[in-house]
């Protein structure tokens, strides 16, 4: 019997050795890159579905009329040149000649016109809403007619928002949001889709007939989808992946930064502008009183939060527009931590301490995602508020839908939140503050029920102001008012770090970072 055990062990051992010795495949040898991601897209058509996990592969599969560099300058892409009419109500795009879709069909002005109208009709961000009609006098000319001037128009025509779709595939009468080819698209971008397996991988291959000569530089890109940030960090450490953008959890960033074979950097993607704030339900007592909201802003030590809680990996946010935006101003109230002032404001608001030293009780919701920015901040706020006599109850939400249901239903006192600027303020900033956008059941609308006629007026003017300096002035006043009115307490900007093999060159450094084509990425 002991012999048979010994035999079994030898058998198992040799089998194990055979299995274990199989090699892992890094990217450099076959000019490919393994891109580690943590989210599955619903599908791959960014014209009808926003969200980073659709935008990232979407920008590789589809080209766009224009693109943008790291300094917010619009660059030619499928369109070689563009020109506004004298009244700023027409835009003429001249397309490159000879550009092709992945199935070999030529890309014409009709495809571009079709794509713009799809984005206008279906994009969740209400993009291109001022587009009235599009003329296509010849195959390479697109004339966009606008109902009013639109300073955000050019940015709306760049990769994360406006893919050029093949009209001959998508214009077959089926509704675009559920079109079957969204899962298996024919694109116009630097890489074509080979396989999309939800929760597992997206395999992309170089499109040899791409219209920009010499691009892309890689032959193959495999987006591997990991379960969560920890699994991704382990994979990067085990050298199973070469490139991973959008790393936001502090422990992963700190851990990966210590590894000698990786570069960890927060360059690129400055346009995304993801802000962390604590939102108040201004329709509910006591948060209808601006003094209460300001008082809570005064107890938050943002230096402590960014330097200690977030270990110096984040930047303080001072207002509704991210510091990396050209419209940002730091000329606003900074709410330097000041507990006596907070107590004075609460006294003025009539919220005096009772016999137990409590002024009032309230609650804060937070989601399980991004603990560094939600739970930790909420716990810190509880400790701080206790010092001025406010009893804060922490209400953890089990998952995103539970949280969205309550916040969208305006059923909350306070909540932590993470809202993206998405480049132009008309896209990601206006929605939070416009009176007209107080809509029940829609998360990331004006769920704070904040309303200020002057803010509405400023935002309406800024949406059509084509003079950059005047527009900056409008947004400056807007930022000052919103920070003073404090419908939300701004905390920090979420850092979007990338980790990549240090032999990689040409990383996506535009304002859209990895939400733009990685056609310059290559091995050294």
């Amino acid at each position: 019997m002991q012999q048979s055990i010994r035999f079994a062990m030898v058998l198992l051992g040799s089998l194990a050795c055979g299995i274990i010795s199989s090699p892992t495949y890094a990217g450099k040898e076959n000019n490919s890159v393994i891109w580690a991601s943590v989210g599955t897209p619903r599908h791959l058509n960014p014209a009808v579905q926003s969200g980073v996990y659709t935008m990232q592969p979407g920008a590789q599969i589809f080209a766009s009329p224009l693109r943008v560099d790291g300094d917010w300058k619009i660059q030619p892409y499928l369109a070689e040149s563009w020109e506004f009419g004298s009244d700023n109500k027409t835009l003429t795009l001249k397309l490159r000649k000879g550009a092709k879709f992945h199935d070999g069909a030529p890309i014409t002005s009709a495809d571009v016109a079709f794509s713009l109208m799809v984005v206008k009709k279906y994009h969740p961000f209400r993009l291109l809403s001022e587009v009235e009609k599009i003329d296509t006098p010849d195959d390479n000319t697109v004339i966009v007619h606008l109902s009013q001037p639109s300073p955000a128009l050019l940015l709306s025509l760049t990769p994360p928002f406006c893919p050029v779709l093949p009209k001959h595939i998508f214009d077959d009468g089926q509704p675009l949001p559920t079109h079957p080819r969204n899962l298996n698209p024919v694109g116009s971008g630097p890489f074509k889709l080979v396989d999309f397996n939800p929760e597992q991988h997206i395999i992309l291959e170089k499109f040899p007939d791409f219209f920009l000569p010499g691009r892309p530089k890689l032959d193959r890109v495999v987006i591997k989808i990991y379960k969560d940030a920890n699994a991704r960090a382990l994979a990067m450490e085990a050298k199973e992946a070469d490139f991973s953008p959008l790393i936001t959890d502090i422990s992963s960033i700190d851990h990966l930064a210590k590894l000698p074979n990786l570069v960890v950097s927060d360059e690129g993607g400055r346009g995304v502008g993801p802000l962390i704030w604590i939102a108040f339900n201004t329709a509910k007592k006591p948060f209808d009183d601006v003094k209460v909201r300001q008082a809570i802003s005064f107890v938050l030590d943002r230096q402590f939060i960014t330097k200690r809680l977030q270990r110096g990996r984040t930047q303080i946010a001072t207002g509704p527009i991210a510091p990396s935006s050209p419209y940002y101003t730091s000329d606003v109230e900074h709410y330097k931590v000041d507990l006596p002032k907070a107590e004075k404001l609460l006294d003025e608001a009539g919220l005096k301490k009772n016999a137990q030293g409590i002024r009032f009780k309230t609650s804060i919701l937070f989601t399980p995602a991004g603990r560094d920015y939600s739970q930790n901040v909420a716990e810190y706020l509880k400790a701080q508020l206790k010092r001025i006599g406010v009893d804060l109850e922490l209400v953890p939400m089990p998952d995103f839908p539970s949280w969205a249901k309550r916040v969208g239903g305006h059923d909350f006192d306070m909540t932590t939140d993470n809202v993206f600027n998405w480049g132009d303020p008309t896209i990601g900033v206006h929605r939070t503050y416009l009176t007209s956008n107080i809509r029940k059941g829609v998360v990331w609308s004006n769920t704070q029920s904040y309303s200020n006629p002057r803010v509405d007026e400023l935002l309406a003017k800024a949406a059509v102001e084509t003079n950059e300096d005047k527009r900056k002035q409008l947004y400056k006043e807007f930022q000052q008012i919103v920070v003073r009115d404090a419908p939300v307490a701004f905390i920090n900007v979420v850092p979007h770090y990338s980790a990549y093999d240090k032999r990689l060159k040409g990383l996506p450094m535009s304002i859209w970072g990895s939400h733009a084509p990685i056609d310059e990425l290559s091995w050294e």
């Binding site: 299995i19 969740p124 559920t178 990991y226 839908p401 249901k405 809202v419």
Partner: protein
Amino acid sequence: MPLIREIVGRFLLALILIASVAALNFMLLHAAPGDIVETIVGEMGGATEETVRELRHQFGLDRPFVEQFFLYIGRTLTGDLGISAYYNRPVADLILDRVPATVLLVFTSLAIALGLGVILGVISARFSRSWFAAVVNVVALLGFSAPVFWSGLLLLLMFAIIVPLVPTSGMYDVAADLSGWAFAVDVLHHLILPATTLALIYLALYTRLTRASMLEVMNSDYVRTARAKGLHEGKVLFKHGLRNALMPVVTMAGLQLSGMLAGAVLVETVFTWPGLGLLAYDAISRRDNQLILGILVASAVLVIVGTILTDLLYRLIDPRVGARS
């Protein structure tokens, strides 16, 4: 004849069971706050009111609850599991895509746990006072009491990072683009850690069960008789002892199948093993109800099939079972 009648009876019972699983879960899932539209809007980074309304209409979520309920039950009974709102693909396709991975994981773990557990159990029963038995006992206790996600992460850290022998996650290396034998080896390579982790708990269970059962059987009269006949010790141990001692172990293995599926959810989540469990985990947090219900129905079917198989196995080990009914 009685066998056929039994099988038909079981089949009818199974249908009722599946219908109840579907009905009960449908109601439970609708009690959860929020819905798939919230998830989708969340992943889109916000949306207009019109988009939200359009999405709810598209998934039939704007209809009254009772209507949704009967539509669903009707569809399920005709074998239509519906369309996953998140993936926009048929639920049946998604499940069939994932079943092989889960079956591979569960049965490999079961084989490891059962095989190794019985061997260790026999050894520690035969030499019950040796140091080896003591070690087996302690290891079994540790394996049984450690939560899967903990032991899984620990193994991951040890064998994928500190001593990089196996990959950290997934079922095969997509970047390698393998096929045939090389692909099978690659899958086995990826299978080692998840299967070991899942096997660990059950290994302990079967070891202890086999040991206890063996100790009892080896003290029985027929074993003493067998020894008195002068039979070889190995024959006594395996033919007279183990075969009788195995009954409770097989019963347990059958009962544990559903437990193993549940354990697989955790293991698949830790190792990103692309099985039903991982699919279910994501579907629940997304409120992709159509998909969750489909997975639950599929799991119920798997468990029922497993139980029937266990019963058939009884007949092989102990001919008396068939004769009695």
